[in-house]
């Protein structure tokens, strides 16, 4: 693996990390939404 290949591969891995981070944030939001919905449902019961 030379310098060019190293840069390419780390770029690829950065993209993957970006995706993972994005997906985790989505999950966090969905959980937040779910908790909020539950709260609302409980409040209106």
């Amino acid at each position: 693996m030379n310098a060019t290949e190293i840069n390419q591969r780390v770029q690829e891995l950065n993209l993957l990390l970006g995706y993972i981070y994005k997906r985790l944030v989505e999950i966090k939001d969905q959980r937040g939404m779910k908790a909020l919905t539950n709260q609302l449902q409980n409040a209106t019961r």
Binding site: I6, L13, I27, R31, K34
Partner: protein, 461 residues
């Protein structure tokens, strides 16, 4: 002070320093792509962020948990891959820096024959090379060979610079030349050894057995120089170390030569007796190990030789300080000072081709008698010292005993790897072919014809 001018005499913490992080403004940059460290920083930041959010999410259990675990594991895998790539990147950058520095020095050296490169620049390159050599495991064989070549060039630059600096002293005046070299360049011998050691780290990373025949010899030359030992030559299927005992052209030697070179030569009974009488003081110690352990054995011997040389130097200078003009260090003094390999000075390691013959030992150590001790007594001392040198290697027992060799047994236990032999293998081969009854009479068949019937050793622990 720019980082390029760091004082190399300062103590450097080798565990933390990264050559790659030292920019060099004086070196023209080449138009090749370099490793982009920003990408690693970006990745590190992302991994930290993922770690934080991942930890938070993993504290809760719901339908998302399996996916969170999967993503966290994926991030860990990527982190590991990036660490490996980063190490490779660092090592490549180190090599680039070493290359730039050394080719710069080489150019300076060649362009103007009168210019003497400041020693500080060379010392800095030596220091960098030495640091870089500790991290070369991510380099491939071609890169390792390139690194070794660079170090070889640096050795030439160092030696040429020293030559230029001593040009006012005639080389023929050896003592003065040496004295002035020690005065003007007191570290130069040590620096040379340091570079030879650095060059060898590249060969060791590749593996001795994978080196070309020429590079193997270079490696052996280097390892010997580093340990103050002599590498003599590669001949007759073996690499020779120390002194090669000169065999005088006696009638007995000529007879031996004849039966070795001419299989049709037949000896008379009288000639056989003459040869037998002649070899009563011929003893050798054999070392036989699995193919891949050969170089470990050599390295262990070299280490012992290097340590002995240091002891001997110390004793020499102590005597010199006490006013002795030409101090002589005796074997007794060496023994008392704790030397480990002062019983043998002539030995060889068989090359791959010769080692492939099943009935020969990998190492043959010649027992040379001294004024105080017979060849047999020296053999006993060699065995004792080799046993101690090889002990840490945990070598296995000999699988196939070399021709006419017998194991060393101490207190009922067979010593691994080491065996001994008396007499000459070629002569025994001759007798085996032409006169087996005489071989049976001369040597003890029950001990693989290694020793004479009444011969025995007293091996110490």
């Amino acid at each position: 002070m720019p980082q390029d001018e760091i004082n190399t005499t300062e103590e450097i913490d080798l565990t933390t320093i990264e050559v790659a992080e030292t920019p060099n403004v004086n070196i023209p940059t080449e138009t090749v792509e370099v490793v982009n460290n920003n990408l690693f920083e970006e990745a590190e930041q992302k991994i930290t962020e993922i770690g934080t959010i991942g930890q938070e999410l993993q504290s809760e259990t719901d339908e998302y948990s399996p996916e969170v675990s999967l993503l966290a594991q994926k991030a860990i895998d990527i982190d590991n891959e990036i660490k490996k790539i980063k190490e490779r990147g660092t090592q490549l950058t180190n090599m680039d820096i070493i290359h730039s520095r050394i080719s710069n020095l080489k150019k300076q050296n060649e362009q103007d024959p009168d210019t003497i490169i400041p020693m500080g620049q060379i010392e800095q390159a030596i220091e960098y090379s030495s640091i870089a050599s500790r991290r070369i495991n991510a380099l491939n064989e071609d890169e390792l060979m390139q690194f070794a070549d660079e170090i070889y060039v640096l050795q030439n630059v160092l030696n040429k610079t020293i030559d230029k600096g001593l040009s006012d002293i005639p080389k023929e005046d050896y003592n003065r030349h040496l004295q002035e070299r020690l005065t003007r360049y007191p570290k130069s011998f040590e620096q040379n050894r340091q570079l030879l050691g650095v060059e060898n780290t590249a060969y060791e990373q590749i593996g001795f057995n994978k080196l070309s025949s020429k590079t193997k010899e270079r490696y052996l030359h280097n390892i010997c120089s580093v340990n103050h030992e002599m590498y003599k030559t590669h001949k007759e299927g073996a690499y020779w170390f120390g002194f090669i005992a000169h065999r005088e052209e006696t009638p007995e030697a000529l007879l031996l030569q004849q039966i070795t070179n001419d299989p049709s030569k037949i000896l008379s009974s009288q000639e056989e007796e003459i040869l037998f009488e002649d070899e009563k003081n011929t003893f050798k110690v054999h070392i036989s190990v699995p193919y891949e352990r050969k170089i470990d054995v050599l390295k262990a011997i070299m280490k012992a030789k290097g340590s002995d040389a240091e002891i001997s130097d110390k004793l020499f200078f102590e005597k010199k300080l006490n006013g002795e003009e030409n101090p002589i260090i005796t074997n007794k003094e060496m023994d008392e000072a704790g030397t480990k390999a002062n019983s043998f000075f002539s030995y060889k390691m068989l090359d791959d081709e010769a080692s492939n013959l099943n009935n020969v030992a990998d190492f043959i150590i010649y027992s040379l008698k001294t004024d105080e001790r017979s060849a047999k007594e020296i053999t006993e001392k060699i065995v004792s010292q080799l046993k101690n040198i090889l002990e840490p290697l945990n070598l296995p027992q000999i699988e196939k005993m070399p021709r006419y060799s017998t194991p060393v047994v101490i207190n009922g236990e067979t010593v691994p790897a080491i065996s001994v032999v008396q007499g000459n293998g070629d002569f025994k081969d001759y007798l085996m072919r032409n006169d087996p009854a005489t071989l049976d009479r001369f040597y003890d068949r029950s001990r693989n014809y290694a020793l004479r019937p009444n011969e025995s050793f007293t091996f110490s622990q």
